[in-house]
Symmetry: C2
Subunit: 160 residues, 2 copies
């Protein structure tokens, strides 16, 4: 299987109109309200989705034209393998976000906690189920170290 072709099932509409205006951390997306317009042919697939408080969006990073296998993320000065980051420039430019689902009205999903650029093509929606998706006793490698460094930096500033 050399190539796999998907078609967007809808378009994500958000307040983030270009890459420069994006929050660089997910916490920047908390409370941000957005909508998804689902294409007419797929609306029947939304039945009973509204019972879920959170959904997993799988989408295409449509502005990512190229990639490299190592990237230096925001807030770090060390390069990491692209698969150890959430950078949009990846071999397959697939994005994943867990968002809050506020309402489903016809072909429109009203969502919250969004860190996605406007006009992003949506590929799939899955219900977020803690039994499947939430993990305990998690280690987060270089990201864990960064989190500690960020906290340390704040503390240092507080006392200068």
């Amino acid at each position: 299987m050399n190539s796999i072709t998907y078609r967007p099932i809808g378009i994500i509409r958000t307040p983030f109109k270009n890459k420069e205006g994006m929050p660089i951390q997910p916490s920047g997306g908390i409370g941000v309200r957005s909508t998804i317009k689902i294409s007419a042919e797929y609306i029947a697939g939304l039945k009973d989705l509204e019972g879920f408080s959170h959904i997993i969006l799988i989408y295409h990073f449509h502005l990512s034209k190229d990639y490299s296998l190592t990237v230096t993320p925001f807030l770090d000065d060390q390069p990491h393998g692209v698969f150890a980051t959430r950078a949009p420039e990846r071999p397959n430019s697939i994005g994943l976000s867990v968002v809050k689902l506020n309402a489903v009205k016809g072909d429109i999903l009203d969502i919250e906690n969004v860190d996605i650029i406007d006009g992003t093509p949506l590929l799939d929606i899955k219900p977020y189920v803690p039994e499947f998706d939430a993990q305990v006793e998690v280690e987060t490698g270089w990201l864990g170290k960064i989190e500690k460094r960020v906290h340390k930096t704040k503390s240092d500033l507080r006392f200068t």
Copy 2:
């Protein structure tokens, strides 16, 4: 944007050789060891992945040939919209699993807690980061009701 084309970055090797032998619930995959063979051209992208205890696999349900917009899942007798289920037969046959990462050795990932069929083409790997991916105060719609019904059924049997 009418179609989006991806290429597999590797192949997932598991003990589940056909659809009939698959666990029907994620708990059936707990402790199941598997491997992923990453294609040579992408190995550099794995740098620093090993620091993460859990990873998100995004893959193609390669045995799903068709879909319908409503499905009746295992353990339920009611049809639900396909986007409110994790069924493999979906408009874009994208699968998502959070698995435990035991080791990275060259082009081989040693993983655990796998509920994926052997030979599945892998599209992307992302580090699992609780701050991004774990949600609290979650409602799980029809699935929540099923869980309760399952518990209730067990209790009834215990007293017959």
